[in-house]
Symmetry: C2
Subunit: 376 residues, 2 copies
């Protein structure tokens, strides 16, 4: 299902085939938490901004509108009208970061909904069931996201439990896919590497999960506040133990610089709310660095956000107009800026792929790794 | 500039030629208060929803970003990227309904900005200057919007002053167009009929302004809370005194039923925030009446808002998905619903024109006048 076309050091240029289409990697997934990208983007817009994979949040959709409703509506693809690949997270991250009062046992986690306070139980089987109801292309294993910093002993125990949960996830997903009732009977399952910032735990856990022959492998629990050097060190440490023939996904990362570094260390897939969240505050990525559209110097600037960009926003609208829309609190401001920032990220990935195709990734990396995160 | 193609009783099927394109009448203008239609619609979207004329608010644009800035950016067309006709109101209505503390003299009105409280003076010359800076296709005369109910004497004095202001508007607009510095040297000027709910004042005022040979004539000060029968009575009363060869615009109206009634009484042009405002609350127009998408009965409804509608929203998305987006407070909910409601209004006008073209307006009117305002 995953095929490496070209390699440059640890960096990989690949293709990931799914029932909903082939993903050219390295790729950046665009986050549509509740089944829509914030900033009033619909599935129709995603085609225009070169989106390859839409990522939806299992926890949010379970709470509202409910995964049973989504299943009744034919699954996420039919519900949202996005016909490309969809990845759903496991709900684990939100359970541990967003929900109220929670209790972890071997079975799973009991927590309170952030919407109506009702008690919900979610374990590996429940997460798989929900994701099966959503009918995503790729389901993520249910894991514990340990708070950083954690003690070695806590991290070790948690890793062991997350492994036992993964075995249960795999079993349940196989059952669901074979049940004859699944929205997408070809649903894929990715395992998630954990182990906090302890390299030996990370490696040990990676070795364990590699043996399960899953459809892909993610690195979880990073980009949660640790220094970026620590993140890079961990990726480098576990990379040799990640199956070469499987797609690799660094969850929740990151800045353009983070992505360039991680690709260089052998990562194929990314996701982050940064481009859309920054856009909603007027912080915009350009090929010369990051600008704040609210800056007074753009008041009469007739040029597009980025003269090098051919996104739907830059092809038509000026900085002056977009800045005005922000000041006037017009929703259109957010839409235009989210379109731009996601297009920038999707184009960044395209250029990374081109550089890999043309055997010049190191040059591309060096030219952009610091530049793209610079505020100008 | 205005040409009547066909007439059916008082109803007129016409064409209004401007430097920014020809408007097929009867027509409904789509309101873009600050240079963008609320609900994250851009100029590019307007083509898709059959918009003919975009209406912008002079007062709002004067306060923010400032008409001088818009002029520096090449005018509203270049600023917003909408290349069709734009009508700007005079600012009068907002000055009288939105701004703080105001004082009316023969010269004009002093008032406080609703944004930063600063004192602004606006009279006929200032309004023309601002609209000239905005470079709209059609400027509206600066008038006093008298509160309803008003005494006969107040209304009479106000009408006389609004007439004197109109004469000054016409003089100023001619100067601005001839100055060699106007963004749009072909800017048109519409006069506005006032007179509260007093038929004799309305008729007297209409006769006076008809003599000025303006580019179009509007009926102002209606749809401000009076019973709709009163509005229809006034239109019927003044219609014989409105120049036959000029386009006629009923300001701020209204429901589909209001429009059908007014077309029947000889009105050519409309505007109203109702379709976009209702859409933002999930109240949606259909060819069977008005629905509230928040209603629980649509929770699992896979059909579009209106099976008879071929707007971008109805062609792709289900009631179930749109209802979910509202519940999850996703901006996309508003965008999809505003697109639908404006498309409904623009299609209503298209069907009115077809009915007039095919000499069956009375049938069309009777079939829809009550139906379309019904809540289902």
């Amino acid at each position: 299902m995953f095929r490496i076309i070209k390699q440059s050091g640890a960096a990989r240029r690949g293709e990931f085939e799914t029932v909903h289409g082939t993903v050219q990697t390295p790729a950046f997934q665009n986050v549509a938490t509740c089944g829509a990208i914030k900033g009033a983007l619909s599935a129709l817009d995603l085609k225009e901004i070169k989106t390859q994979v839409m990522l939806c949040n299992t926890y949010h959709l379970h709470v509202r509108p409910g995964d049973n409703l989504v299943k009744d509506m034919g699954g996420l693809h039919k519900f949202t009208r996005w016909d490309g690949p969809i990845l759903t997270d496991s709900g684990g991250f939100q359970v541990f970061s967003l929900a109220g009062l929670r209790k972890i046992t071997e079975e799973g986690v009991t927590f309170q909904s952030h919407v109506d306070g009702r008690r919900i139980f979610m374990g590996p089987e429940e997460s798989m069931m929900i994701q099966s109801n959503l009918g995503s292309t790729i389901a993520m294993a249910f894991d514990e996201c340990v708070e950083n910093p954690a003690t070695f002993q806590y991290a070790k125990d948690s890793c062991a439990r997350t492994y036992r949960w993964l075995v249960r996830c795999q079993k349940k997903m196989q059952e669901l896919n074979a049940s004859g009732k699944a929205v997408n009977p070809h649903q894929l399952l990715f395992g998630i590497n954990q182990g906090c910032t302890f390299d030996d735990l990370r490696i040990e856990h990676m070795k364990q999960i590699a043996d399960l022959d899953l459809d892909g492998y993610a690195i979880g629990g990073l980009a949660v506040g640790e220094p970026k050097e620590e993140m890079y060190r961990i990726i480098t440490a576990i990379e040799p133990y990640m199956p070469k023939a499987k797609i690799r996904y660094l969850m929740g990362v990151g800045t353009p610089g983070n992505i360039l570094e991680a690709v260089r260390r052998g990562v194929d897939l990314f996701d982050c709310v940064m481009p859309s969240r920054n856009a909603r505050h007027g912080h915009l990525f350009t090929w010369n660095g990051i600008i704040n559209i609210n800056n007074a110097k753009y008041e009469r600037d007739e040029s597009p956000i980025d003269p090098q960009c051919d996104c739907p926003t830059c092809r038509h609208f000026s900085k002056s107009y977009i800045r005005h829309l922000f000041k006037a609190k017009e929703m259109l401001a957010m839409r235009l800026c989210v379109m731009h920032n996601l297009y920038f990220y999707n184009t960044l990935m395209e250029r990374i792929r081109q550089a890999l195709d043309e055997d010049r990734y190191e040059d591309f990396y060096r030219a952009n790794v610091d530049l793209l995160d610079t505020r100008i």
